[in-house]
Symmetry: C2
Subunit: 222 residues, 2 copies
């Protein structure tokens, strides 16, 4: 006996995060089509079964086509689903988030309809996009407390005071600099580049560091 079921809609949604002017921000786009045409929402797209070898590829294709960016670090967040989340019908959307230095996202802001929005100001997005953004921030904060994830908002090399600032922005709280330095070095995900740089406003040069594994343990394949 073979039963045929009505298939749900399957899409991906992107939560491209960055830090601009000391604030955690998400890249949103004005929707060109119904439903919710003209409204600001997460950037997303359908799976193209003829083009995408898996959902991670769908996410990277949409990022390339709609944002003009490739080679970004993307991580699967969670799958959001339901009968009511999309007026087109029962749908599931696999959400991916990316963490990028602002300089990488900046060129995308020249595209019509793309905008960076402070995550504290995100509300009233269509579908369940508010929930997806909150879940991405929660994941980042949950992991940020013990992972190298926030370092991905910085360039290839950075000083510990720079890293300290970005952790404070991500976690939304003040962190004692000495305790931070001790913990981060203990976690052993940084290596010194051997060079030094004087940060803006600093009186002495600080050692530069980079992530030991830029690809990282968090670069999931599924």
């Amino acid at each position: 006996m073979t039963t045929t079921f009505e298939k749900p809609i399957l899409t991906i949604d992107l939560v491209p995060l960055t830090v601009r002017d000391g604030r955690l921000c998400v890249l949103l786009a004005e929707r060109g089509q119904e439903p919710f045409a003209g409204r600001q929402a997460l950037i997303g797209g359908y799976v193209h079964v003829d083009k995408d070898c898996n959902l991670g590829e769908t996410a990277r294709r949409v990022l390339r086509d709609k944002v003009g960016l490739s080679k970004l670090y993307v991580e699967q967040l969670s799958t959001f689903s339901g009968a009511d989340r999309d007026p087109r019908g029962w749908s599931a959307s696999v959400a991916y988030f990316s963490l990028t230095p602002f300089e990488c996202l900046q060129p995308a802001l020249n595209r019509t309809g793309l905008d960076l929005v402070d995550i504290a100001a995100v509300s009233g997005l269509p579908f369940d996009h508010d929930l997806i953004v909150r879940a991405a921030v929660e994941r980042l904060r949950g992991k940020g407390a013990y992972s190298d994830l926030p370092a991905r908002f910085l360039g290839e090399s950075f000083t510990l005071p720079e890293l300290h600032r970005v952790y404070q922005i991500v976690l939304g709280e003040r962190i004692n600099i000495d305790a931070f330095r001790r913990k981060v070095l203990e976690r052993d995900f940084l290596e010194a580049t051997g060079e030094k740089r004087t940060d803006e406003g600093a009186t002495r040069p600080s050692a530069l560091f980079r992530l030991k594994s830029a690809a990282s343990v968090f670069d999931r394949r599924f």
Copy 2:
């Protein structure tokens, strides 16, 4: 312009985990239908858009119908996808894992085709089910080091020596009992029931504890 895309297949897969005789085990089922009829695999099912209000409901319905269990703690693991993972076509499967005391899964073992398999012995499963099982164990171990997750393998109340044993089984390593006791109490997810019990082989009674929040912060809604 409206374009219609071929929709991928959307399913859920279950990774019901438990501890039996000191070993971490997963519940598998013999497949009744093609593809891979007669082979042992994860229990899964299609989304029924007329019945399921979201994918979590699909997971719980499949668990109820195929395993005979309801009210289990299930958590979304990740979504596995691709053109090649299922011979029926491009498919995405949203994997859920559950953590259960052995006593809860035991009745299911009377059902034909259901079997508990030591996760160390899991290999050669059809589809990408080996990968899904590995990802579930990795998630449990990753979270287990700092979460209340392993306590879900125990009954409603348990002693600290019991909890210590189950953490050792989950993490697959010996843990110093004093350091464990200090860390677990520091994390503050347990509360004393006020009662005591003498474990098998112990000379003195130990205080009983339960999880402060049985529903827990990990009980995701999406």
